[in-house]
Structure formats: structure tokens, C-alpha cells
Symmetry: D4
Subunit: 235 residues, 8 copies
């Protein structure tokens, strides 16, 4: 029984109106939801013509979704379920996703899957941590060609500050929980990024690849909006 | 004795080349610098035709600068010294600066002074914390007319998350050290903002109004760049 | 062998006298107790004519209780075992239980089961987090009709402060451990609630739905007591 | 220039409408405000027939207020400025304010001044910490005669839990920053109170006597409202 | 191959000389040791005529010990393996072991088993937390008859401070990791005890029942030593 | 107006009965008390024949006390005011007070003054930190001649654990706030002491020399009490 | 497809050039890598004539490596896979590896395996914690014969400071996560070591035996380099 | 009255024997010492032919020293008093001291003064933080010519990790308390350095320039010692 602004399913109010109001579809955050609940929300979104993106999903939740939406795809490392999505706009800026080490790939992957679902093109730069600076320096030109940067790093979290000193683009830093001991579950990387001397670095929560993708999406949509101060999708 | 890429003054390497390389002039972070050192760097920047912005300045540092650059202006609440600046580009997006309470004004002020020095137009929204939601709701249309939002809040730090749910624009949250007891010097607001459910919120360091201004500047410059992937100032 | 003030069972002193002294029956906190111990305490309370409420119970503890008290009910999501309870008083205030996201349901559920066991009527408001403010604003009138509010939220924990600005009722905030990274197991939500600018917000421990129910019970009993300063149940 | 819902003074939006909407007048939180700003807000509230309560005030802010409102009273230990107030309702419940040591008096004082400004009668119980239990036990009957309890304690913060085991009334615990070393500025007392085994204890921020007074006010107003579910002051 | 001061077993240096030097036998701390290693150390101690106490043992470690020392006893809740021990001295002080809740029993049990192995008589006081003060007050006389008190409590950790106000005996407080949320794994109880207003309270590590037993043992041995300043066992 | 159990002075309840009940006189904790209040309590204790010990006193508080009790002595480094005291019992155990560095002297001094006021003889061992182990090893015999040890250390806090391995006496460790950076105001030393591998080490709050003296006093009084289980002073 | 400076394998850029540039081969940090990925990197290094060291490996990762490089050795306690290595240089300094307790052996083991792979000779000193100082003092001469010391300790972390006071050699302290309660996962030992009064102590991350080995390797290589200021391997 | 191993001055035991035993003279840590005490220790060292280095000194302490030792020099920014010192050995390695920003100069200065007092030659690299990487890259060759590196940085603390990736020399990282907000007094930089991916980085306490100098001294002395395993100064 959808209402004007959404569908109250008892355990959740699905916000079907969100795309019109905010341009981005509602996303399913899976932890704490039963597989059947994830599937029910996915079907509800799909039936209303919206792309489905479920983050932090496990294999059981994916099974429940696929049994009702067989076209669902599971990105295992990124822990995301996707059904549908927005095709990329030709000629728009690419988003550069950089990550320091291979252990950061699940978080970078969540950002990439979300960006692609939102209709953006991604340029990947993996395993270019600051301990081997030449790997980063070799890629500077390719990084500068991106419109927005998402920089993912655990442990000491130094990569975003170094990149910000080389390339002045909007840069969203994502600390990861990769590390041990005094990494304190990602808090060390988070603090490092918040204290970055590279001006213009902004930060999202630990392991929050999805949040970084949303921020990049907001920035790129602004860059595509004519300067009369009105957002097309809301008119 | 300026070199090609800067001027090594013994206690500091002034980065005169920065504007060409990065578009934003170098900014003087005052804590730990003697008044004479602040003045010397200011003069060096000014003589090379660059705008001067000194943040976290005190009255003694201002005195030293003014004695050599009489046109220097001191923004007392924002603790900033300014000499010169970039005139605003007509037709560009405005930056909305929101703040929850009057005690957050110094931080908001630092962001505003920096934005104006960088050549942006600012729209102010003061004292609109979530404890009196009607004050925020009355301003939603005016907030939506801004291209980028900087949302400054101490104590519980809830304002950015609520704004992000109402207006999908690039939103930079600035936690402040305003509060007492369990605010832990701004850590409570910082954590709250990092955990914001409003997708797309990014965060800078506690009280870092300047950093938020830099991030907003990066975003607006991208929106002004033609989509062929090349930044004008670097060509 | 019950004594005047209770029953010393070796591993625990069951406080059978508690209802007369304090009006609320003793409640069994299950962690660290063997299934047989939970069952023994439950039987002891039941045989003395008291309602049984066991919180944080697991399925094995429930099995042990049911084998001796077949009418025992297990609220799985809320992790509570209930035998008996107080019927609701007609005409008394309802307790509004609000929660920000579906992942907060176990905590909200514990509060609801405890309130019902104590004889209160509950009005539920689920999935109304501040990221979609319209969901909350649509419910304001129904929330105002409640006498006491319990507001459950994880992550940024902003909901109680916003509700407190809209509805001035006694409001008990319950932070939950829902979240990841910088949520620090609920500490971020806890700090946010403690710093709430909404005046009159009080807070209980992380995930402590039961404690919130007790506080609401204390408040509602006061509202039902004649103003001569004497509590009926104690005379 | 007051608008319907308040007065926008540039640095602050005074919420003159607040009494009608929420029953409690707006309170001036002084830190970060210039003396002249505090005075201007006080005059604005006073001219609109509202009581003035300014918390965390210093002597300079009091001087500025008194120069414009000579009847202003300064409660030095409680750091509060008061002009006017609500007379107590005869026959209503008293609020018991307990505090563990003399160093907690400023926080208890803030609660007492606020309660009296809101029109409540206060019963004081000072210096009754748990290290000398007989002092508390001697007062149990007088404590039970109060409708709501505010229990203020620093250091180990054990008093609220012990009182809650003796007297089942709505109990608001206020941790204070009194202590040294591992008291961590009141965090030890705060944690202790949040973990209280005494069911029904709720907690406010460290040193937040004012917040506790607001919570007590909310509870007592509920107890005075007829049970038809409608708040008189809002009709 | 025992040397004069011990036996170097490669993975551990067993300190056989410890009883002569320090009066208390060496104790085996089991975590991180393989079952065979625990057994080898136990045999080595036993063959040298010393009592064996192994703490934090699991069932596999017990199995390995029992296969070589069949008289070994496993105290399951206290997680201790014991072989032999010192008989209690008639006429000596008893140690009172108090604990707040049933979940604290494993820690209290570790203290009790260690005390008994060291030759002390224990008086148990279980489930007498401060939330039901009458349970504690009923036992004051029996508590006063003990020479040393070990007070075990989790959650708010208030029991030691209250006991110290009632009975001035050497009192060793043991915080436990019992609790949830803001108990922070026992840190809340630890801080509470360190800030206790009850003068003379000393504290050991979280869950360290064994350490408390050692401290009590040191105190009681002092009380048994003639006042000429020489310890008998060392002559 | 003294009552049987004390004197209610409005701002404080002086516990004159304390010596009879607990053997140790009440001590004045000065922070947060006005000079006149400290003096009034001191006079009240003195007039009732009790020794006066005021800790954490400043020079103004001392002035107020001396103006009414000219025989008052101010121990400046220890920040203690003393009037009277108990003479040492001949033949009783001495208390060894060890401290790691000269910066720890104020805390060690507070312990020493308190011990002497309680009637104990102190043996001092200053500046014997573990970085120069020979200084400690030279003193082992003299340390062993003490009945109880108070070991004061800041920074890494290693001294108590090393001493406990050399001398098995009741040992009370006092962390101090001496240090910088990662000493975190004494938390590093506190944690180090709580984790001490030296069995039998107990710990008090950071900088709490007074609390250590009370614990030592409790232990020594036990050693002086005949083993029939009854405390003389209470009969 | 190796490039000049390495081999980009998609999920990782193997730095084959590292030995020439930095003298130490690249090491595989196993967490977060699939067994096949570990094996692929190992083969790539091996085929380029470099020694293989994989740290924090599990048995599945070892299985994958051994199936392709049968000569691979698994050091189970140290969790390291090794293929090949550098033979020790005759006449060079030995590295002393000290550890406080048997539970610290995995961390000490990681340091030892790494040192041996780098071509150093190790002298082991196990189970010599400060609680039994005689064990340490007996070994001082043998410790002094080492050129560099790695001191591994958990719990109170006091060993490095004591050793630094006895032997002035370059000393690298490694805190371990061994302990419970207030050891906070090794943070207590880490803080203790950072605050060490023993001058010259440097510290690496919790459990980072590998990092300590690298630091020791850097130091010893310097001691082997002729003093003309040029490193042989880089020429 | 010097004894064989030192001079017991009541408040401090001056370790005159330290140079023979440990090669480095004892250093005076000034906080908590009265000016006269600092002077007395300085004179005692000087009269025994040792160099005097007093760290964290203030101007009053310097005045007291100079009045007795007129040749004393005060390094104001580094807060060090120096009398005498060891001349540099020709042909030995230089120590490179790098620092990220001008605010880090006091800490770098303490390291430099200590190194020079110990007889080392220092090469300074100031203001080369990672936000402007070209400043660092320009200096790589000059950095490689140093034998040991001390890298000082506050805020994000990224510099040591980047340098370690460029130059494999023994590298001691010194976090500073420079920064604000989430720098947490240097804890952010400390954590960042401990988690550095640059292998071989070791860390000292926040602001501990002196400790870094000691570690560098230990390393360089080892490099100067012949490989027969015996330290010259101790023979």
C-alpha cells in the first residue's frame, strides 16, 4: 500500500519519493535486516522503477534478493547487491578512486559499485600507498584528469594528504579499519585524515565507501547543473 | 631571495609558486609563529602579488602585519588577517554557511573570510540549530539556492545530518569545540557528523572553518571548469 | 526457603519483597546466568504471584524457563522472556516509542515488552530518522498525544534532540550500538544525546531499552499518584 | 523588529514564541556571547513579558544585564542571572535536589535556580555522599516526599544508583566534573551513572544542572496535566 | 634440569625458588600456553613439592594437567586448576569476598580459589549490589568480622565505595567486565572504583581476582608477622 | 550545633563521630571550598578534639585556617594543612614511601603528611626510578624492613611492578600526572600499574597520595589488632 | 608483465625493484589477501631472485604458497612463510631479542624470522619479565654483547625501560596485545614504553615484530657501511 | 658529598657515574624542579667535569643556573640550558633533522641541541611537510647523505612514513602536539607514525625531541664501535 511519499512496510518506511526529491535512489543498508526484509524492500524499489543498491550485504541476503529478482548481481568483495542502475552520461567527469593497499579493496569496491549505480565512470588507482611514493608519482597526470577523487587508506592514512598536495580537486578521504594494534580499528587513519595539512580534504566515516560515493555524486551533479541556481531534477 | 618555486626564509619556505600550481594562494597558519615571522611571510606574499590570508591570528600578529602592510584588515571574531583578495565572479554559485548557535560564529567566520578571500559569495544562516526546527525549515528554499553548503555545529552536531536530508548539495560539516562535559572538546560533534545518516555529508577537523572553505572552493572551481578535463589555471 | 525480604538461592538473592517496596517486580538480567538458574528464579517469582520478565535472554534460557512455566512467551527480536504481567490501566497516558532505523528494533522491542509487562500502553513510531525529516513531521500530532517518549537511535543519535525541539514531553533517549567505524559501538550516539541542545532530554546506557522503560514507568506512576505526597503502593 | 515566531537580532534568533509552543521560556546560554549580547537578549525577553534566565554567566555579563534591567539577580555560585520567574503552584510536588559533596554545589545550584524560575519548590539534600551512608539513610523519608529527584555527584558518581534503590521516583542523575586524575573531567561519574544497576536512572551531560531541571519540569508538568491527553498550555 | 633458582624449560623459566624467596608459589597464567606446556610446568612445580595453581585455564589445559597429575581439580566457573595447596592456619583472619551480581562470580571465584590455595579461609557475600541496599546492610556485622575485604563489581562499580564507608578494613576492589554499552568492558567500573570517595580503597585490574587474592595474602601475612620487622619465611 | 553524629553546617556535614566509628578522623578535601569554609570545618574538628588534615590546600585556605588556629602548619610541596595529629606507636611497622623522580614529590609528600598525621613512621626512598636500577637495588634491604610500601611514579609507572618482584609486602601503587604527551595526564602510569605482573600490586587514583596513606593505615591497624576478630577502637 | 620498477598484478603492484632501491626485499602482509594472491606474489618475487617473507599468514595461505613453491617453510607460532633468505654475514653484530612472557612469543618470533631472512644472527632471551628481576640481571653480560636490542613485552610493558637503564644499545620496544582488562589490547604497554624514562627507547606498533626487525636491520646496515657517507647497495 | 655512584642531594640522586657506565651524561629534566634545584644539579655535574644539558627549562631556571655557571647558554625556542658539551668527531655520520612545519621547531630544536651536546653534527631540513611534496623531493639526496634521520611532525604526522619510503636509514619519528581539534594534543600524529607503512620507522613520545636524540646517539655510537662486540667507553 504505497502512500504518496513512500511505502510503510511495518519494519521500514521505503522512501519511493526520494529520487524525485533528492535525485539519488534510496539505498538498502543491510546489517540488522532479515534476508526476507532486504528482498521485500528491493522488490518494492524495483517495482517502482528504481535502481536497487544494497550495501554491507551477506550471501544469505543476496540469495533472498535473487530468488525474487533473478537479475540481481552480487559484488562479493564490495559486499553489494545491485539491480539496475543509471547509465553513465557521456562527457562527464570521471571519479578517481585511489587506494593504498589491497586490504582496502572492499571499501574502495563499495564506493565504485555505488558510483557506477549512480551513473558515473570510475578510474581506479590501486596499491599506491605513500611508502612507495614512485607508484603515486607515476600516476599524477592520470589522477589530475579526474574531476573528483576518493582516496581510501587504512593504517597511517597518509595518502589523502599527499594526493591533496599534488592535485587540487575535490578530495574525499575514506579511512579504513585495515591495520592492527594502534590503528584502533581505523581511528588512527581517521584522525590522520582529519588533521591533514593538505587543504580541502574532507573525510567520511571509517569504511564508508558508500558515503564517499554519495559525496562525489553531489559534487558532480553540481558541476553538471547550469549556473542559474536551479537544480534540473527538482523542477 | 626568491627561488623559482618559492622563498626559503630559514624558518619557513614560502610557496610563491602555489597559485600557479594549485590556484589557491598559500595561507599563513599563525599559531607558533612570532609576530615578525607572520609579517615577513605576509610581505613576501604581498610583494609577489598574492592575496594574504592569515588564520588563527592574534592581535599582536595583526599589529606586526599592519605596521608593514597598513591596508591589512583584522576580522576579530574570525581571528583572520586579510590583505587583498580575489573579487567574486558574477553568476557563480553562492556558498551557504549555516551555524547552529552563536558560539559557533568564530568558526563560521573563519570559513566566510576565507571564502570571500578566494572570491566566493557567501549566504549566511546563523542560529538555526535543530532544537528549534522551524527556524531551519523557514530557510530551506534560500539554502537550496546555494551551490555548496558549509554547516557548522558544536555540542550534538546534528545540524548537518538534518540539512543533508532536506537539501542534496555538496555539504561540508564542521564540528566545533563549543560545548562542555561530554562534548569532549568537539569530539562528540565530530563523531555525530561522521555517523550522519544523511548521505553525502563530509567532515573536516574540529573548528576547521578554513579547511571547509578550501573544500568548497575546490568544488565550485570544478563546477566552473569546462568538461574537457583540463583546469584553466594550470594551462 | 523464602525469608521475609527475599529468597537466598546461593547464586542469587531473589527480591520477592520488591513489588511492595518499589512497585516494580524484580527483573532477571540473563547474561552470565545458566539456563537452570534463570528458570529457578523465574519459578520463584511466579510462585510468589509476581510477573516474570527476563531480559537479554537466549533461546537456551527460554527453553529452560518454558520447561517449567509452559505459558512463558519469548519475544525473539527483543530477547525477552515474559510470564504474566500487569494489565494496562484504562485512561492512562500512552508511552511513545520512536526509533530511527530498523536495526534499532531489538532495543526498542526490549523497551516495549518491559512497558507492556509493567501495564502500560505503547504507541510505536518506527523508522523515522532525521535523514528523512518528513517522516517525523507527519507524526508530530500522534507523538504529542503520548505522555512520555522513549527515543531510540544509533549512528549519529540525532533523533532525540530533534523530537525534543518539537514536543515537550518527558523524553528518554536510548543510544544503540547500531553503526560502524566511528560509531564506536554506540558511544557516538550516546555523546550526541548527552550534548543534545533540546532541553529536557535524559539518557540511559547504550542499548538499555529496559532502563528507559523503567524510567518511563516511574514518570507515569507519578502522574497517577494523588498530590498528597504519598505513594499508594507503599502504604 | 519581532516577527511572529521570534526576533532575528543578527547574531541570534530570540525565540519569543517559545513559551506558547513549549511552555518553558527560552534560556540564555552565556558562553561565547559578549556581555552586550547577553543584555540585549535579556531585554528582548523581558520586554515580551517573559522571565529571564541566563546560565553559565560571568560577572561581566551580569553587569551588562543589570545596567539595563536593574532588578536582575546574580546567583554567584550557580553562575545564573535571573529576572522575574514563575511563582510556585501550591500543592504541587517538590523536587528533591541531592548532592554528594560541597564541590558539587555550583551544578546543584544551577538546577535549583532553574527549577525556581520555572515555578517549582525545591528540597535540598547536600553533602550526603555514599562514603557516609548514614547521612543518606537519615533522610530517606524526606527524600520520598519529593515527586522528582535530581541527584548530583562527581568522582565515583555512585549516589544516584544507591538512591534509586531506596526511593522509586523519577530520578535524573547529573555527573559533575568534580574530581581529579582518573575522574577524567567527569567522565568517570558519567559512565558510572549510565551503568547504574538502579533501574530507572536517567542521565544528563556532565555539569548540566540546567538540563536536569528541564527534565524535572517536563515530568512535573505531566503530573499536573489532566489525563485526557491534552496539554493545557498548548490549547 | 633445575638450576638453583629455577628450571629453564626453553619456553618458560619456572621459578622453583619463589616460595623461599617470596613465600607465595609461582602461579601458571594459562592464556597463550599450549596444554602440554601448562602440564609440564605443573609437573615441574609439583615435583618440587609446591602447590599448583593455574588461572584462566580452559578444559583442554585441564585435560593435559590431569593426564599427568590425576589429583588435579578444575574449578570450572573460576577457570582454575589446583593441585595441592596450603592448609588454613587456625585463628587467622578470614577474607571476605563480596560480589555485586551473579555475573561477577567467575572473578570472585578466581579470588576464592587462589585464597584457599594460599591457605586462607574465605567468607562469601554474593549478590549484594547497591541497588538493593538492605541486602548489604543485613550483612555488615558479618563483613566486619573479616580481616580483609575483596569487593568484586561490574557495571557501575559502586559497591566498594559503599562498603568502605561502612567497614574500615583493608579493601581491595576488583572491577569486572560485566556490563554492556558504556561499561566499556569494565572500564566504567574501574574508573568508578579509582574515584571512590571511600578512603582506603585500592584497585586491581579488570577481572583480576587472582591479583586481589595476592594483595589480601600479602596483608594477612603481615598481620601474622611479629613486629620485630623480620619476615619468618625469609630467614 | 553539633548533633550526635556530626555537625550540619549548611554547606557541609562535618562527621565528628567518624573517629569513633572508623578510627580515622575526617579529612578536609579543599578544592571547591572557600577559605572561610575550610577554616570553619577545621575549627569544628579541632574543637571536638580531633586532628585536622586538609589536603590539596592553597595558600589562601591556609591563611584562613591559621588566622583561627595559629598552630596550623602548611606543608607547601605536599599542599597539606595540619593541626595536631596522632603520635607514632613505638614498635609498629614503618611505611616505606618510594618515588621515581623529583617531580613526584608533591604526591609522595601528601602520603607522608597523611601517614604522620595518622601516627605512622615513614621511611623515604626518593628518586629511585627504574631507569637507574642500581639506585633501587642498593636500597632493597632497607625497603624490606618496612611493613607496607607506597610506590609513587609517573611517566611509565614501572617502579611498583619492579619493587613487587623484589619485596613481597603489601604494596600500594600511586600513579602521578607527571609526564607529557602520551602520559595522558597520568593515565599511562595508571594503566601500567594496573597491568603490573608483580602479583599483589594494588592501585589508587592518579596523584592520590592521601588515598594510599589511608590504605596503608588500614593495613597497619589490622596488623596491630589481636586475632580475636574484634577491632579495639570500635568496642 | 613486469615493468621497470615492478609488476602490476591488478590487485597489487609488486615492487621488484625494491631490493636495489632499498636493500630490503618487499614483504607480503597477508591479512585481507586471498591464498591465491599470496601465492602469486610469492612466485613473482621468487622468480625475480628475491627472498620471500610473508607475515601474519594463516595455514590456508601457506598451503597455497607451498603448492607452488614446495621449499616454503611455515613458522607457525610466528605466523610467517619463508622461501629463501640472506645468509648471515660473519663478524657482524648480533640482534638480541628479549621477551617478557611466553605469551609474547608469536611477536618475538615474527621479529626473529624476519631478522634471519634479512641475514642477521639472533640471540634469544625469553621469559625475563621485570617481576622476577634476577632472571634479567643474570643475562646482562650476554645482552650487552648484542649490537641492537628488540624488547617485546605486553601487560605493563616495563621491560624495555629497565633494559635501557642497564645496557645502552639501540633498543626497539615492541608492545604486545598480551593482557586483559585495562591492558586495552596492548595500549597500556604501548603508552608505558612511549613514556619510558630509559633514554633512547624507540617504539613500534603493537605486535609489530616485523617492524622492529626492519628498524634493527636499518641500524646494523649503517654500522656496516664505511663512513664516507655512501651506501654500497645504492651505488 | 658524592658517593662512588653518585651524589644524593635529598631531592635527587645525581648520577655522576653515568658517563662511565652509559657513555651519555645525565640530563636534567626541569619540570617540577625549583630553579635552585636545577642550578644545584648543574653545578654538581659541572664540577665533576661533565657537560650540562637541562631540557624543558624556563627562564627562571636558566637565571638560577647562569648565576652560578655564567657560561651557561639558553636555547630559548628549544627550552634548553647547555654548559659545555662534546666536540664533534670528524668523519662521523651526520644526523638529519627534518620537520614538517615551523610550529614543530621547538621540538626539533630540543633534538638538535641535545645531539650537538652529545658531539654530533646536525643537518637541518625545515618546513618540508608532505602537503608540498616538491619541497621534500628536492632534498632527497641531501637527506640520503645523513646516517640517521629524526623526523618531527605534528597534525597528521605523515612525513616519517613518506621519508622512510624514499630513504632507508634508521629513522626516528617524533610526533608533536602541534595541531588542534582532532589532533588530540599530538595523539593523532603519534598513531599515524606507529601505523606507518614505511618499514623501519620507530617512534618516541609526543614532543620528545630529547629522546629521539638519545636514540640517534645510540645508533651512531654503534656504527663507530669496532665489530669485536665491545664498547670502548665501557672498557
Amino acid at each position: 500500500m504505497p502512500t504518496e511519499s513512500g511505502s510503510n512496510m511495518g519494519f521500514a518506511r521505503v522512501d519511493l519519493d526520494r529520487v524525485r526529491r533528492c535525485r539519488r535512489p534510496e539505498v538498502i543498508y543491510c546489517p540488522g535486516k532479515l534476508p526476507g526484509e532486504v528482498a521485500a524492500i528491493a522488490v518494492s524499489l524495483h517495482e517502482n522503477g528504481q535502481p536497487v543498491l544494497a550495501t554491507r550485504a551477506d550471501i544469505a541476503q543476496y540469495g533472498a534478493v535473487r530468488s525474487r529478482l533473478p537479475e540481481a548481481v552480487f559484488h562479493e568483495r564490495a559486499r553489494c547487491i545491485v539491480v539496475g542502475g543509471t547509465p553513465p552520461s557521456p562527457g562527464s567527469w570521471k571519479v578517481g578512486v585511489l587506494c593504498a593497499g589491497t586490504a582496502d579493496l572492499p571499501v574502495a569496491g563499495e564506493a565504485i559499485v555505488a558510483l557506477q549505480t549512480f551513473g558515473h565512470t570510475v578510474e581506479e588507482f590501486f596499491d599506491i600507498g605513500v611508502a612507495g611514493l614512485h607508484r603515486l608519482l607515476e600516476e599524477v597526470e592520470r589522477i589530475r584528469a579526474c574531476g573528483v577523487l576518493i582516496v581510501v587508506a587504512g593504517m597511517e592514512g597518509a595518502l589523502p594528504g599527499v594526493v591533496a598536495g599534488l592535485v587540487e580537486r575535490p578530495l574525499i578521504a575514506v579511512p579504513t579499519s585495515v591495520g592492527y594494534g594502534a590503528s584502533l580499528g581505523g581511528v588512527a587513519a581517521l584522525l590522520s585524515m582529519l588533521n591533514s595539512c593538505g587543504s580541502g580534504v574532507t573525510v567520511v566515516n571509517i569504511d564508508n565507501g558508500f558515503g564517499a560515493a554519495c559525496a562525489a555524486d553531489d559534487i558532480l551533479r553540481l558541476a553538471m547543473v547550469p549556473r542559474d541556481g536551479k537544480l534540473k531534477p527538482e523542477t
